[in-house]
């Protein structure tokens, strides 16, 4: 019997014949924290008195959730993290560099790698063929110390996508549709593995968007085969030599298969307060909104800003809507400025925030008021997520977000020019 992508990676990194259901200990290629999970991780690392990091150059700290720091407590957490980096020689990425998952894609993730991070959206790197998964602080502290961790080898659900997207329908709509079909716990403890004609034709940016949201169905990983698209991306990021072809075996054992025809999809939206509460945008059309947020590890990449800029070009946001844009990384911001997307968005009345997580998790930079409604391109709409349990969050694509910013209400992007 052949192997799924997850079984292949875990077999190689554990030196065993890893099969779904097995418990293995595997080496990790990168272990990381961000600024809100890092301090606890480091205190736990110190508590075990292991001494040095297993691999300082494969240990990373990203300052992205609370940048620039909104208060003294978080500023002191940042100081604590910088001090640890100075003491141990691990990598640290200062505020403004970008969101951890985007930087992991730009600088670290390769096909066949194992990546663990103290952030649930670590799954994003699955778009490049890495077995990447989020864990808590204790697990990452031990991965820092030992350079390995334990995994239960997941069963795999195969997602096959065919067909061409309609105009202004895209991968965000696809992944929202998928989460709606699976349910918020439909893939708990399992791997989602993507393939098919449409997947082969997706850009890395699009694959990262889909992989990013695998965890919203409970999945441990959302993993893509590697191909020429992956190879070209790695080469463009200066690590073409890290490319390797990684495909599942033809006779791999899948728990089940889901087939999606992209041409039948329409713009989708997740309604409050769970991500699997999905409906076609048309059904919610006309719902008044107070804030639009375009950014995050889900949809803060160059292609996302391009979609928003195309819709907002030479137009103005609705006067009663705040429009917040946060590029996912410095690289994204710089390219978007060079091409002119940032100028278009600023001229449309957007607030442009520094590369980082921004308003996504309710810390700062866009906390909602009571009974306010936000349309966001992020990955979570839980009650209280954006800092206020009395507010409502809808999740949709950059196209739907941009179209809705123009009209002041939830709007099907196919209906604006």
């Amino acid at each position: 019997m052949g192997k799924t992508l997850s079984e292949k990676v875990l077999s190689e990194k554990s030196g065993t014949d890893a099969r779904a259901g097995d418990i293995v200990i595997a080496r990790v290629d990168l272990a990381f924290v961000q600024d809100t999970t890092g301090p606890l991780t480091i205190r736990q690392f110190k508590e075990i008195k292991h001494g040095s990091l297993a691999n300082p150059k494969r240990t990373a700290i990203f300052l992205d959730h609370a940048i620039p720091s909104p208060n003294r407590e978080l500023s002191n957490d940042h100081k604590f993290l910088r001090r640890f980096a100075d003491d141990t020689g691990c990598l640290i990425f200062e505020g403004g560099s970008g969101i951890c998952h985007q930087l992991v894609a730009e600088m670290f993730a390769n096909p066949g790698d194992i990546i663990v991070g103290a952030d649930s959206h670590t799954v994003t790197a699955g778009g490049l063929g890495a077995f990447a998964t989020g864990m808590g602080s204790s697990d990452i502290a031990i991965a820092f110390a030992l350079g390995k961790t334990w995994f239960r080898v997941p069963e795999t659900i195969k997602i096959s996508v065919s067909g061409r997207f309609q105009k202004r329908v895209g991968v965000k709509d696809l992944v929202l549709h998928l989460i709606g079909a699976l349910g918020a716990d439909g893939a708990t403890y399992k791997a989602l593995e993507f393939n098919g004609y449409t997947v082969a034709n997706m850009t890395v940016s699009q694959r990262l968007t889909i992989a990013n949201m695998a965890v919203e169905a409970g999945a441990k990983v959302g993993i893509f085969p590697s191909d020429n698209v992956t190879r070209r991306y790695l080469a463009a990021q200066g690590r073409g030599s890290k490319y390797r072809a990684l495909r599942p075996d033809a006779d791999a054992d899948y728990e089940r298969s889901i087939i999606i025809n992209a041409s039948e999809l329409e713009p989708m939206i997740a309604t409050p307060h769970t991500v699997d509460n999905v409906a076609p945008v048309n059904m919610l059309a006309g719902t008044k909104i107070d804030q639009v947020f375009i950014g995050t590890c889900t949809n803060g990449r160059l292609e996302d800003l391009a979609i928003a800029a195309a819709i907002l070009k030479k137009k103005k946001r609705h006067p009663k809507v705040r429009l917040i844009i946060a590029p996912a990384s410095q690289q994204v911001l710089t390219k978007a400025m060079r091409i002119g997307y940032i100028q278009v968005l600023a001229a449309a009345g957007a607030m442009i925030l520094p590369p980082g997580c921004a308003a996504c998790l309710g810390l700062h930079q866009g906390v909602l008021g009571d009974n306010e409604v936000c349309l966001s391109t992020a990955n979570r709409n839980f009650k209280g997520r954006m800092g206020n349990p009395e507010a409502s969050i809808y999740l949709a694509s950059p196209a739907t977000a941009a179209a809705s910013a123009l009209t002041g209400e939830i709007t099907d992007p196919r209906k604006v020019s």
């Binding site: 809100t36 952030d119 864990m135 602080s137 697990d139 031990i142 918020a184 906390v367 997520r385």
Partner: protein, 169 residues
Amino acid sequence: MMPDKILKGKAFKFGDNISTDHIIPGKYAHLRSNLPELAKHVMEDADATFAEKVKKGDFIIAGKNFGLGSSREHAALVIKMAGVSAILAKSVARIFFRNAINQGLPVLICDTGKIDAGDKIEVNLTTGAVTDITNGSKLTSGKIPKVMLDILGEGGLVPYITKHRDFEL
């Protein structure tokens, strides 16, 4: 033979899909290096009075997919700090499950629909047997992988590694 480990306490009942934002929202990230202050907000967005009412030894009784969302281990940590002796749920999200065990907080998967808020509950951690003393129903809980039982047995992952210095499968 070791005596069975018995937990007793009152049931605090919650529904399906209680996320880490219900348990400890991101807006309190500035308190994560001040755990006693952070712990005052435990379960705040699901039950604003939980922190005052919960007593040492009590149980969180949840529906499906408890703890979905963020990897913040603070979610499991503040529940443990509140004195909760175990979480009983129909199902638990993956990262939260690891985090709870790593904090030495037992999680039992069972049909919690038969338990009402306020019921007196007894859990035998050794056998996994759950008894609702108030209504007399007896439940069995699902198996936890051995590696997790070993970590739980040492009181969490940090004490486990401090003692064993490595994983022992």
